[in-house]
């Protein structure tokens, strides 16, 4: 499993990544196309194939935030989401990394809770129907050191 920063050229080179972006909602597609050249999208490659991605930055009031987490259906339940969240935790500025999901998405909520994220509020008016639930977890500078040991 390889995780690396995505580049615009990957859209051409990785058909599954191109398909994922094309099938996103228009708003998310525009968001992906905006942050990709900035280096905020990171992708998982398994045997050279696109298996998932995460978009993360330190721009929620200066805190780390995971905006979009995606795992291709063929590669689910193999620890890829875990690997992507760990990667985001390494990139995040201390002290905390945040993420969110819709209240209807119980699978993501269970996933975040299993990773040690705690509920950190909710916002309405994000989506016409469902509130967005926020989660956060403490991260520190030693994350990378711990991982390498």
């Amino acid at each position: 499993m390889e995780i690396r920063q995505a580049h615009e050229s990957d859209i051409e080179a990785l058909p599954a990544m191109r398909r994922y972006i094309q099938e996103e909602t228009p708003r998310h597609r525009a968001f992906i196309e905006r942050v990709l050249p900035l280096g905020d999208m990171h992708i998982v490659l398994i045997d050279g194939e696109f298996a998932g991605s995460v978009i993360t930055d330190n721009h929620l009031r200066g805190r780390g935030f995971v905006w979009l987490l995606w795992v291709e259906s063929d590669y689910r339940r193999q620890g890829i989401a875990t690997a992507l969240m760990r990667h985001a935790e390494k990139l995040a500025s201390p002290p905390r990394l945040f993420t969110s999901t819709q209240s209807s998405n119980t699978a993501s909520q269970r996933l975040f809770e299993s990773f040690g994220y705690e509920r950190s509020g909710q916002l309405e008016k994000m989506d016409e129907t469902n509130p967005e639930l926020f989660y956060s977890k403490a991260v520190d500078d030693s994350a990378e050191v711990t991982d390498a040991s």
């Binding site: 998310h28 905006r34 900035l38 721009h59 950190s120 909710q122 994000m126 509130p131």
Partner: protein, 144 residues
């Protein structure tokens, strides 16, 4: 009062020492290039002086978000912040625009509520012990 609002991509603004010099006199202007890289800055000018600024990006779930708003303390309560937000709304490429402030910041919350922003909810753990209150405005949804 005549307030002129300039809309400048942050990447362009940071290369303009004269403009940055005026902004440095205002509260909070201390941002890294990374923080500013794909944002846009709205600057309020009165008689050649910068009296306030707002900074926005489209990073908030792909929606417009005003992540900084500051007005010269000596020139508050004169409509500068409102003019900055209205300009940001005109710029905003998404159907709704968001902003936020600490729960403890009563003047900012009163301002947002008085000019048509609706409370969207709170996010905890951003600043310890002081939740961040988010606001949303859907331009055209209200007479304001």
């Amino acid at each position: 009062m005549t307030v002129d609002i300039a809309t400048v991509p942050a990447a362009e603004l940071v290369g303009d020492p004269a403009a940055v010099g005026l902004l440095r006199a205002l509260p909070g202007w201390d941002f890294s290039d990374d923080q500013l890289r794909d944002s846009v800055v709205f600057v309020a000018y009165e008689d050649g002086l910068a009296t306030g600024y707002a900074i926005a990006s489209v990073r908030f779930f792909g929606r417009g978000f005003v992540w900084m708003l500051a007005v010269d303390p000596a020139r508050r309560r004169r409509g500068v912040a409102t003019a900055l937000l209205r300009t940001a709304e005109d710029w905003c490429p998404s159907d709704r625009i968001f902003t936020s402030t600490n729960q403890s910041n009563a003047p900012a919350r009163r301002l947002f509520e008085s000019i048509g922003y609706l409370e969207s909810g709170t996010v905890d753990n951003l600043d310890p012990g002081d939740p961040e209150v988010f606001y949303c405005r859907i331009p055209g949804d209200d007479p304001g």
